[in-house]
């Protein structure tokens, strides 16, 4: 039990030490609202996201909470190493994030409630450009730094109920909120004559959303989830002054899981999101995933792949993304705890920019 307390302490440290919850960043998100987060636990993400709709510790489909009986908490950390190649240059970037925390438990025989937070949009980046401007008859070279540090979290309260062996329903309410410190700085090469321009503003965004999902299990082998989500509008404040509103996307999707044996499961999912109404030059996206899990529920080996589009990018078409992932889990503490480790390789292309990401993931789940 002492070890259990130690692990609980580790989990607490992970959660308490988080910055605003953020997922991996992308240069493709700079022109738009940001980089969409993934509402997936390490277990789901190492299957390419295919199992997210069936995973109670993920935040994709509320109906998945219906089968949670014991109080369960899960947290996740991820480290990303990203290489960016663009016509203007290349860079190797890295960051560390804690993009997910969920908790769920049964309040009655038929009702389970859950909640937590996950990344909705990540908006952290810094880009540097060089240029010159004609000032008072002289070409003056300068360097611009544009940076944003922050992101938007999705705080969820959800309930799910199993109405029978074949049907479970879920409903969630979402508060979508967060902030980013946006900084623009222009440094002139001759800083003795031209003063450096530095402008920093705090951008806060708030919105609300609802989600609903249904989990159908027509046979012990087959499970199907349908999920939908409607998010309203972002209300944006810049330095506490209201500065505008922007639409948020709606989402519909579905997933299928086949339980081939007690030790082998496979799943696939697809989701559509209406990003095109959120910002100029944004695109609706369809993303798919497929994955396989071999072994026990908590200690299996997992592999998966994903593909689809990104909502923000230049030119006439949406940037593409594909990736593969693998990982494994290990139970401890008599099955009360699950540790998940995984790695993911993502490749994004669009508008001449190529981005490749390695992400190492660590997940901790504790059940009562």
């Amino acid at each position: 039990m002492r070890s259990m307390r130690r692990l609980a302490l580790v989990a607490g440290t992970l959660i308490a030490g988080t910055r605003p919850v953020l997922a991996q960043d992308s240069q493709f998100g700079i022109r738009g609202l940001g980089t969409p987060g993934r509402w997936e636990s390490v277990r789901a993400r190492t299957t390419g996201g295919a199992f997210a709709a069936f995973d109670a510790t993920s935040a994709l489909a509320d109906a998945a909470l219906a089968d949670v009986r014991a109080l369960t908490a899960a947290a996740m950390g991820a480290s990303s190493y990203r290489s960016v190649k663009a016509p203007g240059g290349s860079a190797n970037l890295r960051n560390g994030r804690f993009p997910l925390f969920t908790v769920a438990g049964a309040v009655s025989r038929r009702l389970t409630i859950g909640g937590g937070f996950t990344t909705y949009l990540d908006d952290s980046y810094e880009v540097v450009t060089r240029d010159s401007v004609l000032l008072r008859g002289v070409m003056v070279p300068f360097r611009d730094n544009f940076a944003s540090d922050g992101g938007i979290s999705d705080i969820r309260i959800a309930a799910a109920s199993r109405l029978g062996t074949a049907l479970a329903l879920g409903l969630g309410l979402h508060v979508i909120t967060g902030s980013a410190r946006v900084t623009a700085m222009r440094t002139f090469d001759d800083s003795t004559v031209y003063a450096t321009v530095r402008d920093s503003q705090l951008v806060r965004k708030t919105g609300f959303g609802v989600s609903a999902s249904a989990l159908i299990t027509p046979s012990p082998i087959l499970s199907i989830v349908g999920f939908a989500r409607a998010d309203g509008q972002f209300h944006t404040n810049v330095d506490d002054l209201a500065s505008g509103e922007s639409d948020l996307p709606n989402m519909v999707g579905g997933a299928v899981r086949l339980t081939l044996s007690p030790f082998a499961r496979m799943a696939g999912s697809v989701a559509w999101r209406s990003w095109s109404n959120t910002a100029p030059g944004a695109y609706n996206t369809i993303n798919w995933s497929a994955g396989l899990e071999v072994g026990g529920l908590g200690s299996g080996l997992r592999v998966g792949g994903r593909g689809g589009k990104l909502p923000f990018g230049p030119g006439g078409s949406a940037p593409s993304e594909w990736g593969v992932a693998a990982g494994f889990g290990r139970t401890f503490g008599g099955g009360h705890g699950v540790l998940d480790l995984g790695a993911e390789r993502l490749v994004r292309d669009g508008g001449g920019l190529h981005e490749a990401v390695w992400t190492l993931m660590f997940g901790l789940t504790i059940r009562q």
Binding site: M4, A86, G88, A91, V197, T331, F332
Partner: protein, 432 residues
């Protein structure tokens, strides 16, 4: 139970491994070269460069006839002899006590005369292109004070020269010493100062008991051309806590109670008063804006910045543009800095200055047309703190220590009124 604990221990090891993975990326690196506009924020910084014709709401000059710094409290004593300008340094030393201690106890003896004296002068600035630079000393009446004018001392300066020292010759001698006259010099290469020690005998500076040993001297300078030096004043010495003003070292003779004459150590006598007199006299300000000169004048400007700039912009460069009303006097060595300071509070001519925000512009002695004075930091301060008074003061460094003065057209002259040329960046437009 043992199995449970063993599994928990394994779990802890996995947790440690996971944490190590995460901690390996705790330091972020998010900076990438921007590929704009495709992969940059749609918002951008842009600059506005404009000339504000009416930004100077009120302007005026103060400092004549009583200057912010006048010759008698200047940090420099100016000795100049150039066509169109003559200036002479003058000073009077403090009295020497009538009696001095002559033995190991408190017994004192009367001062009965002087063996010799050494006058110490510190030259803080000179025109190095001047050759045969010579300092000449003249005896002056003890009555000199801050009201003494140039022509009040015509007679003393027309009298015999007490001593003269050719500075170029002295500096060329080995060890910077003249064994014949006893004069010497030291050069402070760091602070660019020359200390000249001029030996005077009792005939040149007689000790007059009735005057308590006070002595008044004038310094006149000459050279082949461009005779122009600044001598450190007592005020400069006080400011830097270093004896830089004129000092006379008296080597006195003291009566030792009717026995042998005592020669105590040198007795220092600083200047009780130092100043300089010059001709022609200072010009009145008239309707012009004047900064610098002697007595030192300042320009006070009350600015009216548009709210867009004051409230929500970042100032990249701001320059006051004046039309010169007169040409500068002097030669290139007389170039001087003009400093712009915002005021802490606007009390007109007596406004206290904010010395933390300073813009400095060097004014070189060249034919003038438009005079541009940098005020970037001052206007930048106003753009970041809208509660600040938007009044600024232009002053010369070193005030009261240089004759050149800027004479500029004021806003009353509509056709040639001063303007503010400003380059600024409006607020960075964050995407909604």
């Amino acid at each position: 139970m043992a199995s449970l604990l063993r599994r928990a221990g394994q779990g802890a090891r996995w947790a440690a491994l996971g944490l190590a993975v995460l901690l390996s990326a705790c330091s972020e690196q998010l900076t990438a070269p921007g590929t704009c506009p495709d992969f940059c924020s749609p918002s951008a910084l842009f600059l506005v460069d404009t000339v504000l014709q009416d930004a100077i709401a009120q302007d005026s000059s103060f400092g004549r006839p009583i200057g912010y710094v006048s010759p008698h409290n200047s940090l420099a004593l100016l000795a100049v002899s150039v066509p169109g300008r003559e200036s002479r340094a003058i000073f009077r030393t403090i009295p020497v006590p009538a009696r001095l201690i002559v033995g190991p106890d408190t017994a004192t003896g009367a001062v009965i005369g002087v063996d010799s004296a050494i006058l110490r002068l510190t030259i803080t600035r000179r025109d190095t292109s001047a050759h045969n630079l010579t300092l000449s000393l003249y005896a002056l009446p003890l009555a000199i004070d801050s009201t003494t004018a140039f022509h009040d001392l015509d007679a003393p300066f027309a009298g015999p020269v007490v001593r003269s020292v050719n500075l170029d010759t002295l500096l060329a001698r080995p060890g910077l010493k003249d064994p014949t006259t006893g004069d010497s010099a030291t050069v402070d290469a760091v602070n660019l100062r020359i200390t000249v020690l001029i030996r005077l005998d009792s005939a040149q500076v007689p000790f007059v008991t009735a005057d308590s040993g006070k002595v008044a001297l004038g310094v006149r300078v000459s050279a082949d051309s461009r005779a122009n030096v600044s001598i450190g004043s007592g005020e400069l010495g006080s400011l830097l806590n270093t004896p830089l003003g004129p000092i006379v070292n008296w080597f006195l003779k003291v009566d030792s109670l009717g026995l042998n004459v005592i020669h105590p150590p040198a007795r220092l006598a600083q200047a009780a008063f130092d100043s300089f007199v010059f001709d022609p006299p200072p010009q009145p300000l008239g309707g012009m804006l004047v900064v610098g000169g002697v007595p030192a004048a300042r320009i006070v400007l009350r600015m009216a910045l548009p709210p867009l700039i004051r409230d929500s912009s970042r100032v990249v460069r701001a320059t006051l543009e004046f039309v010169a009303a007169a040409q500068l006097e002097g030669n290139p060595a007389d170039s001087f800095p003009v400093v712009a300071n915002p005021v802490v509070a606007d009390f007109g001519a007596k406004s206290p200055l904010n010395l933390k925000q300073t813009d400095t512009t060097w004014i070189t002695i060249v034919p003038l047309d438009t005079v541009r004075i940098d005020v970037t930091r001052v206007v930048g301060l106003w753009a970041t703190d809208s509660l600040q008074s938007t009044t600024l003061v232009l002053r010369q460094l070193l005030e009261g220590g240089m004759f050149p003065e800027l004479r500029l057209h004021a806003s009353a002259d509509v056709a040639q009124r001063p303007k503010l040329h400003i380059t600024y960046a409006p607020r960075y437009p964050v995407k909604p």
